[in-house]
């Protein structure tokens, strides 16, 4: 890469660099990898043996990080940012935070959860949540005090020299100029800080801006001025493909001048287009088969039996997933151009060693089998050392590979029209030939009809004529389709020429939207009830077993019934509850009837089928 190109790329990155708004209470902001690594030690994990420290704290540099070390299969290299606090440090930290909270001198931008996530979802999800919390005791996880210690260390480092960094990359692919902004956070404290899914050391986040170059060889212009953003995509949890992407002129993409505004999730650092509180769901692997069976039953219920109710549930929360809230309120500090805190930009092109050569993890390897608590790998790699899709194919990553850059759209449209026209001409010619052939064979077949010794040949001829007719029909159908396509292309060409690129949101299948004010309008009582209900139910079951084991079934039914009734009252869904209960009773009754009268039911069904056929036939005869 030439120095001039580097300058152009850096200018481009600077021109459209984002403004990120954080949630009050956020502890970690984009940081320098060099300073982070200096604070870390490098470790090697191999199965069945204790982890080995390769480079101790204080000696690790970016250069030493990238040294190639033969480790063997199944080995994992990782850096460790925080050593567990000793008791004295932990006590100091706890006393300090308690004093702050008691004296009311907490950070100005401290976090208040508000309406709890549990109040926003149903009881099945809350039960699963309780199970998920229990699994944390069995799975590997980042120790509880690590987040506090990480926050303390980060604050100290920032006090020495405050900096907010991003790592920029300009990637040219299929007519797109992709500006990637990579942000490295020393820690993700979503679980311990904001009631989220996980905690882990090191956190890489990214946003991409997809630009096109308006200059042509006939009309060369300023290499920076001619480049215009068309799309933008923010990385966010498990969302992928088209849903990640928004058009630059979409009102949902807020901008300050030419800088897109990003709302960062508290602790998780996931990026969002709008401020608000988002529902993030996690599905436990062992529930996947149950969910599939449930979906199958639901499909039959809704599509085959045409029953109501299930489609309403589908649009809401999946009961087999555990809900978490990602708070992207934007009420904390803001970093970006024109703000009090601004970016330090670093271009990662040509690729530095820490990007290209280090495939290990950027924080503690917590040995969590479902990986939520393990640190991520670098911007280029997945945890397993393979290259990230967002790195090797940033265009395909957000589903943009099927979209033609606007400057090329007319040219590509003309090409496509030529291909269609060419195929049409070929088909017209083929149809003419087929018609001639068909006529000849038809005539010959007519001549052969009724000649005694030619019967076999006549039959063959008939089959051949039929096949030719079918083939001819297919070709004519294809011509008809091509005509339709050509008409559509002509219409689209006019739209493109007038600058109309179609609806803004047509590509979005499932937009990730924050909770609305109405959805958040549940009472404090509902919140308190949601927080304690599952725990109370579990305690109730234990009390039943101990003190009233004879009435366990009755007691369980009463408790669950009461739970469901209260829940429905809070959510103003009593009518839906009543309907569901009636339907459930009908299903049970059907089972009872089948049990008692299976063969009679079969006979009745056969009789009904017979009557239906008779009715249909009689109707046909009677015209």
């Amino acid at each position: 890469m030439t120095e001039n190109q580097e300058m152009i790329d850096l200018t481009l990155l600077r021109r459209y660099e984002p403004v990120i708004r954080y949630t009050g209470g956020e502890c970690f902001y984009p940081f320098s990898v060099e300073r982070y690594i200096k604070q870390c030690s490098l470790w090697l994990h191999r199965p069945k043996i204790p982890d080995v420290c390769l480079v101790p704290t204080g000696s690790l540099t970016l250069e030493r990080l990238t040294q190639q070390r033969p480790n063997g299969f199944d080995s994992i290299q990782y850096v460790k940012f925080i050593e567990p606090l000793d008791l004295v440090e932990l006590a100091k930290l706890s006393i300090s935070s308690t004093m702050k909270s008691l004296t009311g001198v907490e950070d100005q931008d401290s976090f208040r959860a508000g309406l709890g996530r549990l109040a926003r979802v149903g009881y099945v999800s809350r039960l699963l949540d309780a199970l998920f919390s229990l699994t944390l005791l069995l799975r590997g996880r980042v120790p509880g005090d690590t987040a506090k210690a990480a926050a303390l260390t980060y604050q100290q480092m920032q006090a020495e020299q405050e900096s907010f960094c991003y790592y920029g990359r300009v990637h040219r692919q299929e007519g797109w100029i992709v500006l990637q902004y990579w942000f490295f956070y020393p820690f993700n404290n979503w679980r311990t800080g904001f009631f989220g899914i996980n905690d882990h050391e090191g956190d890489w986040e990214m946003i991409s801006i997809y630009c096109t170059d308006g200059s042509t060889s006939d009309n060369p212009s300023d290499p920076v001025e001619s480049i215009r953003p068309v799309w933008v995509a923010y990385a966010s949890h498990d969302f992928a493909g088209d849903d990640l992407r928004r058009r630059w002129d979409d009102p949902e993409v807020e901008k300050l001048g030419e800088h897109p505004l990003v709302y960062s999730g508290a602790g998780s650092h996931a990026s969002y287009f709008s401020k608000g509180e988002y529902l993030a769901e996690v599905e436990l692997p062992f529930l996947t088969p149950i969910r599939r069976v449930w979906n199958w039953i639901e499909t039959i219920w809704v599509n085959t039996l045409r029953q109501a109710g299930a489609e309403a549930e589908k649009s809401e929360i999946n009961v087999f997933r555990i809900p978490f809230i990602d708070y992207a309120r934007g009420d904390g500090i803001t970093i970006g151009p024109g703000q009090e805190k601004t970016w330090q930009a670093a271009l990662i092109d040509p690729l530095p060693g820490w990007v290209k050569d280090y495939r290990g993890l950027w924080g503690l390897y917590a040995k969590d089998p479902i990986s939520g608590e393990n640190a991520p790998a670098g911007p280029m790699y997945n945890r397993d050392g393979t290259v990230r899709k967002s790195w090797y194919d940033p265009v395909g990553w957000c589903g943009l590979d099927k979209i033609t850059p606007p400057e090329q759209a007319l040219e590509v449209l003309h090409e496509q029209r030529s291909i269609n026209l060419k195929r049409r001409e070929e088909l017209v010619l083929e149809v003419e030939q087929s018609v001639e052939e068909l006529k000849r064979f038809g005539l010959e077949t007519a001549a052969l009809q009724g000649i005694a010794h030619m019967e076999t040949i006549y039959d063959q001829q008939i089959s051949h004529v039929d096949a030719l007719s079918e083939e001819l029909d297919k070709k004519r159908q294809e011509i008809c389709l091509i005509d339709d396509r050509l008409n559509a292309l002509d219409k689209y060409e006019k739209e493109l020429a007038s600058g109309d690129y179609g609806p803004l949101r047509a590509h979005i299948h499932r937009a990730h939207l924050p909770w609305t004010e109405t959805e958040l309008r549940l009472s404090r009582l509902a919140e308190a009830y949601s927080a304690v209900s599952i725990g109370v139910l579990m305690i109730g079951i234990v009390l039943l077993v101990v003190f009233a084991s004879h009435y366990i079934l009755f007691g369980l039914a009463v408790m669950i019934g009461a739970l469901i009734f209260i829940e429905s009252s809070f959510r103003r869904r009593l009518s839906r509850l009543a309907t569901s209960l009636s339907v459930a009773l009908a299903v049970v009754t059907v089972l009872v009837l089948l049990f008692e009268f299976f063969w009679q039911v079969v006979v009745v069904l056969v009789l009904l089928a017979g009557l239906y056929i008779v009715w249909e036939n009689v109707r046909e005869i009677s015209g």
Binding site: R306, A308, S575, T579, S582
Partner: protein, 147 residues
Amino acid sequence: MSANISRNESSLSPRSLYILIIFQVLQSLMLIGTGIYRLLESPWLLSVIPLSINEIAKDAPAVLVNEMSFIFVGTILLALALFMLSRRYTAWLLSILVQGGLLLYSLIAYYQGNPRYDVMISGVILVFYLNQRTIQTAFRSNAENVL
């Protein structure tokens, strides 16, 4: 997509509505009819042998509660069927609730060894018919005050 479905399904054809109402009227007549029949059949009412006060006192409450309830429920269902003609959501909601109650009763009776299969079968047919997406959407679209 869902908006389209709602629009299409809210236009319930009168035939589906009439079928629903006929079903419910038939069921209510069946309940009223069997109720009256059983009431008349009961020994304390039409017995040729004069019963003692004790015998009447022993049988009367059970018969009254059972059969009078059926007549009462049948009458309510009949009234609801008529209200459903004007596509009132409340009529639909109360109908499905009463059907649920009838099914609960018949399941308990089955469990106690006195099954009422006629109630079971008619209840099942009506609950599934009332819960049809087209029917429910048509009534919901007319809802003024949903609980």
